[in-house]
Symmetry: C2
């Protein structure tokens, strides 16, 4: 959709814990003649090891890493942050099935240069790779829409919560009681209850049970294993 293909070959590292998905992505990329898959990794840690080993062997680093978010060992957000810090020349493009605002936000905040959903077609993936290689940012249309929605309604959703309320919400979503939350955050149970009450009000919820679902819906926490 934008960004003319670079003249030189773009190296790509594919990171996903599902072999099938890696295979599909690689198939997409093989169709592009100025893109070369330089490696695959099954989780964030492997991705970093792969980059590290390329570096010590003096081999060229990939220009782009195409990365899933939910992975064992090290998830995509963490890996993205780590890559941005240790391998700043590598652009990270997220490719995931989750389109939750919080996750998108977190990924972009940690240096992601693109965000695709897994129902994206080959052309979207190509566009995202080219954009990233050119230091542009590519966002899936659906993703962009949600981001804009979020910015238009800044007071709705978890975005309207204070950071403390968000801490509390995360703990609620882990199944903790108010007492446990208080202990965890080193505050009194009364205060914990104040936060719970406030966040329920802001989110328009009637119980902590619903808060668990809301936290997951917004991508604030992962659904249980």
């Amino acid at each position: 959709m934008s960004a003319e293909p670079e003249t030189s070959t773009i190296g790509v590292l594919v990171v996903d814990d599902h072999a099938v998905v890696r295979r599909g992505v690689v198939a997409y990329l093989e169709a592009l003649d100025n893109v070369e898959v330089v490696g695959e990794a099954g989780n964030g840690r492997e991705a970093l090891e792969c980059l590290e080993s390329l570096k010590v062997r003096g081999q060229p680093l990939p220009r782009v890493a195409l990365m899933d978010l939910m992975m064992p060992k090290m998830d995509g957000v963490e890996a993205t942050a780590e890559i941005a810090k240790r391998f700043p020349s590598v652009r990270v493009v997220i490719l995931t099935s989750f389109g939750e605002v919080e996750r998108i936000h977190a990924a972009l905040e940690h240096g992601a240069a693109g965000y695709l959903l897994k129902d994206a077609g080959p052309s979207d993936v190509a566009a995202a790779i080219y954009a990233a290689a050119n230091d542009d940012v590519f966002l899936d249309a659906a993703v962009a829409r949600r981001l804009v929605q979020k910015m238009r309604a800044p007071q709705r959703g978890v975005a309207g919560l204070t950071s403390r309320e968000r801490d509390v919400l995360v703990l609620i979503a882990e199944g903790r009681s108010n007492r446990e939350i208080a202990a965890k955050l080193v505050i009194s149970e009364r205060t914990a209850r104040t936060h719970v009450s406030n966040l329920l009000g802001k989110l328009g919820l009637r119980s902590r049970t619903q808060a668990v679902l809301a936290a997951m819906r917004e991508g604030l926490v992962d659904p249980p294993t």
Copy 2:
């Protein structure tokens, strides 16, 4: 691992809402010379429409449908049941990222002839297709392990619940209060509380908030959008 390849070509229908996953699966299958991909579908409804249209045109139905579980419009379990009923010659093999006991159970119960996880390699997919084509059942090793674990400990997990308790648990996991659960099930609120109390005890949980997480962990309900 088992099941010698059939002599004739095996037609396969690939059903997944993620284009990238379909592409990966198709790439796997293209490497097998006695397997032919006869169609792709993005959800359960499309899959049924596809089979229907092949039928009315008098074209041969696929021998195997490779199907994701979580899809929009119609999910995999429902589609599997429908296919088993209306197109009994088609064997359904599940290919999904969720390895929750309840889901596995539901899929097999509704007529699935195989269950793979998405981190399966090409050889697993091939083995599952061949097995299904030969009226055998192929289970991913990890999946089989969980099934066996489940059968060995029949009283633990949601399997130890009565069907009524399971109904209640599902409603809890939707964020309903005891009063709402009672209304929904047309029982008194006291009775609803009895069920809640009993199921919490059986699952070793301390609150309905934890029950929400347990229900998802076991695959009794889907995580929210």
